[in-house]
Amino acid sequence: MPERPMIEIENVSKFYGIYKALDDVSLSIAEGEFFSLLGPSGCGKTTLLRSIAGFETPTHGEIYIDGAPSLALPPNRRPTNMVFQSYAIFPHLDVAENVAYGLKRLKLTPAEEKKRVGDALDQVRLSGLGQRKAHELSGGQRQRVALARALVMRPKVLLLDEPLSALDKKLREEMQVELRTLQKAVGITFILVTHDQYEALALSDRIAVMFGGRIAQVATPKEIYQHPRTRKVADFLGGMNFLKARVLGEQAGAVSVDAARFGAVSLAKPHGFSASDGHVTVGIRPERLRLLWDDDRAPHELAGRIENRAYFGEVTHLTVGIDGLEEPLSMVETNNYGADDLPIGAEIRLAFDPDAFVLLAEDPPVSRV
């Protein structure tokens, strides 16, 4: 991936009165990168996206687009284009006229304009539907028109505001694959706002997780899922079993802790680690716990009993009570071996890998005023 920065966000804050929608956000997004802003509603991700587009003016800070300071530029003079959550298809225009909307100002020859519209429709696989009226389109098609209308402008950055949230699950998954393919094909920077962690994980080169107007962590999908920095990040990106653990000792680059019934565990020491009261929070993902059947043996085992069970088709989610642990553990088991038939109350054994634990930092207190 080319490392030239395309978007640089420098200490951007946005206040509504005394409410901090964005609180000193800094971020660098590379040329050609598929970048996601992930977080719960109200975390500031949409405000940040709209600040890049020019629809919001940050109270402090600067946003550079391709090296140029951009806050003084209105939306119509920025090299960015946006796909709106509602798609915002112009209802009085047909598909081709929608796509050609922004081109009209470029004073192209009719032939050239037609070619660019045709190419853009091909790109989103809507060839031949140029004469369709907006109200004759399905949800997925409307989404594609919105994409084509933005891409035809050849922006340096494409901004996507929850573009898939209105589609049903099946179509959403199809569009995810297509979005990813499209981004690779056009090669420009995509910035996606989403509250769906799976969407962010599946699509992005890098993800910024946001809470309370601040960025909690920026990393690749794999890094952010496997090594979330804080408890909230870990929690937002899927299931996680949290445990209080006592610090046994610190070595260079590692911390060893006593993780209750899991025993002594050695963990990678995060940057700036400090355990003020000698206790830390550690976590292990549900899928890193494994049921042991019959005579199966594992180097690290725990005994427990099924407290609850939820059937999800391909997997079953189990809640397992362990003596000596305050909270029951969540685990995810494939249904290949009959986990879906385990009765509530059944005594089971589970295996775990001590290397699967992550050390989680305390979340900074959220204050938005």
Binding site: F55, P75, N76, S86, A88, F90, P91, A150, M153, A166
Partner: protein
């Protein structure tokens, strides 16, 4: 319950009721064109043969033509004024949230539910107290008060759900604020505006009470018709005139409703998620 509905289906009570209802509603109106083509000065059956002479007599009737001109001036001005005011009100109600919004909307709609004659009398008192001369201007002011609620309801249904992101999408695609208004805002709401103009014009054209109280020496068509009813010989001419006005009103209201539905579909569709 089930047995009852079945019995009702056997006896065509409801269809008969509906037929009588429509007959009662529309038969008198249908008699209007019938007698306007009847070759007799009285409105009695049997009909005396077909004629268009009553229509022909209208052409040379300068007093009637003057009243028609007055109605046209008043109608056009009232429809423009009440649509303009209606646009402001509808935009405020659909786009913004403010304290007293519901109350404001209610007060704008109120003239619809007040007895028109009371409104007319109070307007007359104020106009006289202010020392204004009764004229077409006073009719225009009075009818505008009365038409704004109609204009506003038509416009609100057109503006409701006008997705703000349509305008943002236009800026985002490089268009200026003025260009956005011209290329997006106006076309999307245009049907609602035309519909509001037509509805207000039609209401003004038919309106009698306010015009009667406030028009002074310049009668509008309804006031003129009222004056003619005293002379039995003039009745067929009035029927011919009434037929023309009826046809014009129905045409305009139909057109307005078509446009209103189109406007509604457009704006709703822009919002509609799959």
């Amino acid at each position: 319950m089930n047995a009852l509905t079945q019995r009702l289906r056997l006896i065509p009570v409801l269809p008969a009721y509906v037929a009588v209802y429509f007959l009662f509603l529309y038969l008198p109106i249908l008699l209007l064109p019938v007698f306007s083509f009847n070759n007799a000065a009285t409105t009695t059956f049997p009909l005396a043969g077909f004629t268009t002479k009553w229509y022909a007599s209208l052409v040379g009737n300068t007093v009637m033509l003057e009243a028609a001109r007055n109605s046209l001036v008043v109608g056009v001005t009232v429809s423009l004024l009440s649509t303009l005011l209606g646009i402001c009100a509808a935009r405020a109600i659909t786009r913004y949230r403010f304290r007293g919004q519901k109350a404001a909307a209610g007060l704008i709609m109120a003239p619809l539910f007040l007895p028109e004659i009371i409104v007319a009398v109070s307007l007359l008192m104020i106009v006289l107290a202010m020392g204004l001369e009764l004229s077409l201007l006073t009719v225009i002011l009075g009818q505008t008060v009365f038409c704004v609620p109609y204009a506003m309801s038509v416009l609100v249904s057109g503006f409701e759900g006008f997705d703000r992101s349509l305008e943002e999408a236009s800026y985002d695609l490089g268009e200026t604020a003025l260009g956005t208004f011209r290329r997006v805002t106006l076309p999307v709401v245009a049907p609602a505006i035309v519909s509001s103009l037509l509805v207000s014009f039609t209401i003004s054209l038919d309106e009698f009470i306010l015009a009667f109280f406030l028009s002074g020496t310049e009668p509008t068509l309804p006031v003129y018709i009222w004056g003619q009813l005293r002379f039995a010989a003039k009745l067929p001419g009035v029927l011919a005139l009434g037929t023309i006005m009826l046809a014009a009103s129905i045409l305009m209201l139909t057109f307005a409703e078509i446009l209103r539905r189109r406007a509604e579909r457009r704006t709703q569709m822009a919002l509609m998620l799959p």
